[in-house]
Amino acid sequence: MKHPNQEQWMEYLYNELSAGERSQFSAHLATCEECRRKVRSWQQTMTSLDEWQPPVSVAPAVRWSRTVRWAAAAMLMLGLGFALSRMTTPVIDQAALRAELKSEVESGVQKQWQQELKKLNAQIDRQRLEDQQQVVQTLRQMEAQRLADFASLRYELDTLAMSADNRKSDGFSHATAQVKLDVQR
């Protein structure tokens, strides 16, 4: 058998040869000092490589469980906090609280109503005053108008009376004169 090449020796070293091939290679090694030396050197290196084994770690389990543990711890703390807060919080009398709230709400509403009523009353008073003033002013205007009309009417009547007197005296004179004419005739 010829010297196997280095790549073929790799197959031999890592057991990737068939049984038949392997026995041929072994037989060659038994007779070839050069190949034996080479293979022995590689085998020593391979043995050295085995001296470094990453720590059989706890790592995968620990690293994943670390997360889980943190999560569990956080949940536990949350739970404890919740329980403590429940325990330390004074018991609330819901009926009393409801009554208190009701009275507060009612008094609040009452105050608000009173304020609104006050506002409304004031507004009504203002409106009433304005209306009264308006009525008085209107009455005054009507009185003034009535007086003016009365004065005007009186003047008219006086004028009329005066003119009537004049016409009466004129008529009497005219009638007298007519009578005198008739008499003369």
């Binding site: 890592y14 490589l49 995968p60």
Partner: protein, 198 residues
């Protein structure tokens, strides 16, 4: 949840579950996918970034993205291929962000997180030595160019076949293997260099 639903969900293939997520936003099916794939995706992201916390964040983000982009999933495609690709793209983006900020995983404080006991059963000296070796590997891996690191992580640590890696990265299988050769060769040199440094 009734037993029948549980058994239904457990019998779903990845593709069936993803179809349910896509069509009905089925949270139970998504949870099932997460349970199946969370650890491999987390390991991929941690190894690609060399940073435990960043890797875990990226893994979570990958699943968030799967859910957000569920409508883009092609039902005829293999779910895992799609998922690996999403996670890898997130890792690449993260690496670019880090490069832009002129940070390296070797310099930041987060790197220290990786210093965790490899074997608590061993004695203090052994444990310390094991931790030092582990840290050396972690740092060497971070110095590996991204394309080699990806292939190495997917094949060596995540156990994908070369054919599957080729599908995820959408490159020929031969290229994957040659990258794997280069990745192992470079890692060998980097580790030798670090041993001599110490």
């Amino acid at each position: 949840m009734s037993a029948s639903i549980i058994s239904t969900i457990f019998s779903l293939t990845d593709e069936q579950a993803m179809w349910r997520v896509q069509q009905h936003a089925d949270e139970q099916a998504f949870a099932q996918l997460m349970r199946r794939w969370e650890q491999p995706i987390r390991n991929l992201c941690v190894r690609m970034t060399g940073d435990l916390h960043r890797g875990e964040d990226l893994a979570q983000e990958a699943f968030v993205r799967v859910y957000e982009k569920r409508q883009m999933y092609q039902p005829e495609a293999k779910f895992s291929t799609w998922l690996w690709r999403i996670a890898l793209n997130l890792c690449y983006d993260e690496q670019r962000r880090i490069n832009r900020r002129s940070e390296t995983a070797l310099q930041n404080d987060a790197g220290e997180v990786i210093f965790e006991p490899v074997n608590d059963a061993s004695g203090p000296d052994e444990s310390l030595a094991a931790n030092e070796r582990a840290e050396m590997v972690r740092r060497a891996l971070q110095q590996l160019p991204e394309n080699y690191r990806t292939v190495l992580v997917l094949r060596h640590y995540e156990g994908l076949k070369f054919r599957e890696i080729a599908d995820v990265l959408e490159i020929p299988e031969g290229t994957v293997k040659s990258r794997m050769v280069e990745a192992l060769n470079q890692m060998q040199r980097l580790l030798e260099h670090k041993v001599t440094e110490t």
